[in-house]
Every structure is written in C-alpha cells, then in structure tokens.
Assembly symmetry: C2
Homo-oligomer: 350 residues x 2
C-alpha cells in the first residue's frame, strides 16, 4: 500500500489512497491540480500530519505545473505563492503542512536567477521526492527507537491512525508497533475506533491486521475499562503539532487517554517526527484547534443520530500537556523527560 | 411521551416506545407476550435500569395472562416462574430487573391460598402499576434532591440516557436537570453521544431539547477537552447497579468520565433510585458486566467500519469505584460520602 505517490515526471500527477473508502474499498484517487489536493486534505481522503505535509508538497508541484505556463519567472512565483496559500488554508492544526509548504517555498525562491519556471518546477518535484524519502526514513528510525520501549507480551492502546496511512509508509506510532513486532515481540494492540471519523476502526485495524499484528477494536468509551482491567501496559499515539514545551495536539480524545494512563500509572508515549515540533510557540495554548462540521457527528452514513436543531460541538483535536507525556519518540531518539530543554537538545538541532 | 404503559385491564397489553427508532421516529411497540418483552429488552427497544425493571414487571403480567389458562394454581405458579426466569435472563447487569421480578414473584406466591390464577394475575397487575407509580415518584424526588446540588449557569456533562426514556417518566440524572431547570436555574448540558448505541445523541438530546433545556452533543472522545476547557462544572450520570460499598456499574465510559472529573477536580454525581443498590454484594468486582455483540461496533447502520475478521471487544458497562463518586442522589436524599455506612443508613432502611 502506497498512501501517496507521484506518477510520472514533472508533468505527472499525485495519486492518493482515498482513505474515506477504507476498509470496504482500497481505491486510488488522482489529483491533477491544487484544488483537488485541497479537497482531498479537507475531506480527509488523505490525513495524518506527515501525509498531509507530503500531499501539500506534491500539491505545490501541481501548482508549479499550472504556473509554468506563465512563462515569466515573477508571474510564476506569484502564482506559486497563491497555490501555497490555498494549500496552507486546507487544515489548521497539523504543523507538518506548514513546514512542508515552507520548504517548498524556499526551494522555489532560492533557485538561481537564471532558472526558468520549468526548471524551478523540476527542482520542486525533486524537493517533494526528497521529503517523501525523508519521511520513509524518519518513520523507520522512529520505529527502531520506539520498539526498545516495548516488551514482549505487552498490551498497547492506540488512538486514531498514526500508521502507514498517515505517513509515506510504516507510520509513527504504528511504526513503533511494526518494529517491535518485526523484532519478535508479541503485542496485543487495542485500537480505539476514534469517533467521529473512525480512523482507528477503519484504518489502524486494517493496516495492522494486514501486517499480522494482533488487534482488537474497542469503542473510545471502553478505553478506561480496558486499561483498568489490566489489559494495557502502554498508551501510544501520534501527534499533529508539538509546542516548544512538549504540549502536544493530537486527535480529539488523546488528552483523555493521557489522563487515563496517568491515573493507572502506565506510560503515555507520543511518536512523531521532528517536523511535528513547532518551536515557535511556547505552549499548547497557542495551537489552533480545528473545529469541524456538525454533520460528522449528527449523521452517520446518512442516518441522523442527533435530533434536528440540536447543536453539536466537534473539535478535531485536543492538547495533551507535557506533564502527562512520559516520552516523545522521534527519529533522533527518545525525548524524556518531555520539557523544553530535552526538546531543544534533540529537535532544535534539526 | 410515555416510555412504558399498560393498556387495558388484566387482559391488556404492554406498549413501549421503540427507542431504537429515535430520534427519527417516535413509534410505539405493543408486547402481547413474554417473548416480545424479552426481545424488546435484549434489543434495547426499552433500556435504562428502572425502565427495564418496569417492562419486566409488566412482562410477568403477560406471563400471568398466558398461565391463567392453566386453571390450576400450582400449574399457574410453575408457568409464571418459567416466565420470570426467561425475563431474568434478558440482561445481566441492571439489578432493577431482578428487584422487579423478585417483587412480582413475592406478590404471586404471597396471595392467599383461595385465590384463583385470574385473581393472582389481577394482583400482579396492581403490583406492576404500583411499581410504575413508585418509579414516577422516585424520579421526581431524585430531581428535587439533586437540583439543590446544581447552581444557575453551570455546565453539566452527562453520559448515555438516564432520562424519562430510562424510567417511568422524568428520569434520574435527567430528572435532576429537569428539576433544576424548572426551578429557574439555567444549565448548559453536554450530552456524550455514547457509542456504540448513541443513546446520548439519540435519546438524551431528544428529550432535553423537547423540554427546552440547552443541550450540545459531543463525541465521547471530546469529554476531556470539554471538561478541560472549563465548560463543565459537574458530571452527572445514572447507574445500573450499585454495590454495598458504592462501586457503581453504569454505561461503558462512565468510569473514564469519573476519572476525568477527578483529574479536573469537579464533582461526579450519580442519580439512581434505591432499588439500583444491590446490598448483597460487597463491591463492584461482583457485578456481572454484559458483553454485547461485535456488530454493535463493527457495523454502523449497515456500513462496515471494522475490517472483516478483526475482533471487537464490546463491554456494555464499566464499574466506577466509590472513591471517584462525590455523591449518589436517591429518592431518600443525598448519599455523601459514598461509603458502606452512608449507603446502609439511607438505602438499608428501604
């Protein structure tokens, strides 16, 4: 399964697995312009902080394709900047999106003055491909570091999907589980179904089961009971943005899980690449939390579940304070304790 | 809305609101025999500990109707006992079911020896109606006691449905909210949608909205964020069985909410009638927890959400330890602290 791939040369297109169709169908969706990439990000056909970043990077390549018809370099760069702005407005919380767009912008603007729009477009595709390969390497490194934290026979609870489908391949939190599994450790994974969009049931269970890991799906509400009954030794999730002090935004429900882990005195780990850190913000208070539409909650597969006229509150993320995070696993190693000094030491050098 | 009603005399029938059809349709379902009552309880057409007890009591009346054809008193009582056993096997956790069936059995067996099956059937209907009226009175008393714990302007988070639809009328936890509202206190209620069967979204939101209370539906996973953001001053739920030490079984997810309330230093209240207490068991360890079918989780309205072949764990209840419960509101007053002595003082005298 390739979550994201670029097909062809600089005149090619972006092909995504449409994650809204899983697990019933595994279908690809081709994006030939910026608008279709934005639509895919907004509607969660592609989701997960690293995958959103990569989709946006390739989206810039599609923007460059269209802009290179402009001929003139200044007009090309102006049109490219508009494409970047449109992509940046697709989702607000995951910082990898902004990180990726910033890299792409710098790639375009740092090209020597004699380069044509076509040459810049080609450099942009090279850059996106390099980021894609970097994400693969990052996930495998996260897996190696994180696997050392898990022991044979443990139960692991995870939330949402921080897997191959959220990254170039292998995954962050699920990369840790894959690496532990591949090193011969037998784990039992509990996957929260993760309302409202059920990424745990639909995506995490699907990809772990395909890879031969033992996984059981539970309703989100069952997590406290499952932890309290001794079935879970570790809670492990991904993250969408991590502040300089370690406060971490992730899928709504993660903060509650971190509190449950603390109450039961089991570790709560986050696995995330260094580009998930946003050292420009001091704490989680400054992370914008996306609020999504009421329909995600009030209707399920076309059936109304909330009475007409009753309001719904649908924040897509919450912020887990650093004090509840036992460690953060990134490609450069394990950040523990989770505090500004440890973070700057491992992430600041990136 | 009448959750449960008996229509006619001793030859009458039981009419239930089919709660699986709400909020899209409010339809009644008539039960003319024990099997249809069992089916209604098992499939959650009628649910909520007090309502299950009342449905079972009327189910015994339907059993008596069928048995009274037997003519002979001994044969009648034997057939009645089989009906009671079938009803008792419908759901395992809520103790009100067993309490109600025990009352009905004692009503039948304590009739003077000269009474005919028809006369006993008539006494059973009188008993069921008395329990029905008692449940109405109980809910209003719980409302009066509990309303004193709430202040104007507070946010209240509730889980599942402990409302009019879970009782004869008015509700337990929702009875408290109704009584506070009727006394002029403005509350903002957050209703957990309550996966897997969405009683919060479908039932609690429906009945509070009809009664003019301000209610917002959230996904269960959003509870920690909503509490952490200061929107919630009190968490309030019902219960299905409470042990002699105060450990309380309620809808899966309640234990997690109690931990969240403790972590945020806000009170966690339970509202439940005295017949929810099971003083025969010392602690929550002895409460049987119903495990329900995988299909409740793995398919939603006919669409598969968990990949084929992946196991699902679906406990319907969890147990909140007494130490996490600030107070229990029952018809005789407020039990606080929640410990064996306070419980025996208020409940043991029932």
């Amino acid at each position: 399964v390739q979550t994201i791939r670029w097909e062809g040369d600089v005149a090619g297109s972006l092909v995504l697995i449409d994650q809204t169709a899983l697990p019933e169908q595994c279908v690809a969706r081709r994006c030939r312009d910026v608008a279709s990439v934005v639509e895919a990000i907004r509607s969660l056909r592609v989701r997960g902080a690293p995958a959103i970043g990569l989709a946006a990077a390739y989206g810039v390549c599609l923007g460059a394709q269209a802009a290179s018809a402009a001929g003139d370099r200044a007009a090309f760069l102006a049109q490219l900047e508009r494409a970047i702005a449109i992509l940046a407005a697709s989702r607000p919380t995951a910082v990898n999106l902004f990180w990726a767009l910033d890299r792409m912008r710098r790639t375009a603007t740092s090209q020597p003055p004699d380069r044509s729009p076509q040459q810049i477009a080609s450099a942009l595709l090279d850059q996106a491909r390099a980021m894609h390969q970097q994400d693969r390497d990052t996930c495998h490194a996260i897996g190696r570091h994180g696997a050392a934290l898990l022991r044979d026979g443990q139960g692991v609870l995870t939330h949402c999907n921080a897997g191959a489908l959220a990254t170039a391949e292998y995954g962050t939190a699920l990369g840790v589980l894959r690496a532990a599994h591949q090193s011969g450790k037998h784990l039992h994974v509990y996957a929260d179904e993760t309302r409202p969009l059920l990424q745990g049931a639909r995506l995490t269970a699907w990809e772990l089961d395909r890879d031969g890991l033992e996984v059981t799906v539970i309703c989100d509400v069952a997590a406290a009971h499952v932890i309290g009954s001794g079935r879970v030794d570790v809670v492990l999730t991904g993250a969408d943005r991590i502040a300089a002090n370690g406060d971490s935004a992730n899928k709504i429900g993660t903060y509650g899980l971190a509190l449950l882990a603390a109450a039961h005195e089991i570790p709560f780990y986050i696995a995330a690449p260094r580009n998930t850190f946003d050292l420009s913000i001091a704490s989680g208070d400054q992370i914008p939390i996306e609020e999504r539409g009421a329909d995600e909650i009030s209707q399920i597969f076309g059936t109304r579940t909330v009475p007409e006229g009753v309001p719904v509150y649908n924040p897509a993320f919450d912020v887990t304070p650093a004090r509840l995070i036992t460690a953060i696993i990134c490609e450069a190693g394990i950040i523990r304790p989770v505090d500004p000094v440890s973070i700057r030491r491992i992430v600041g050098s990136a």
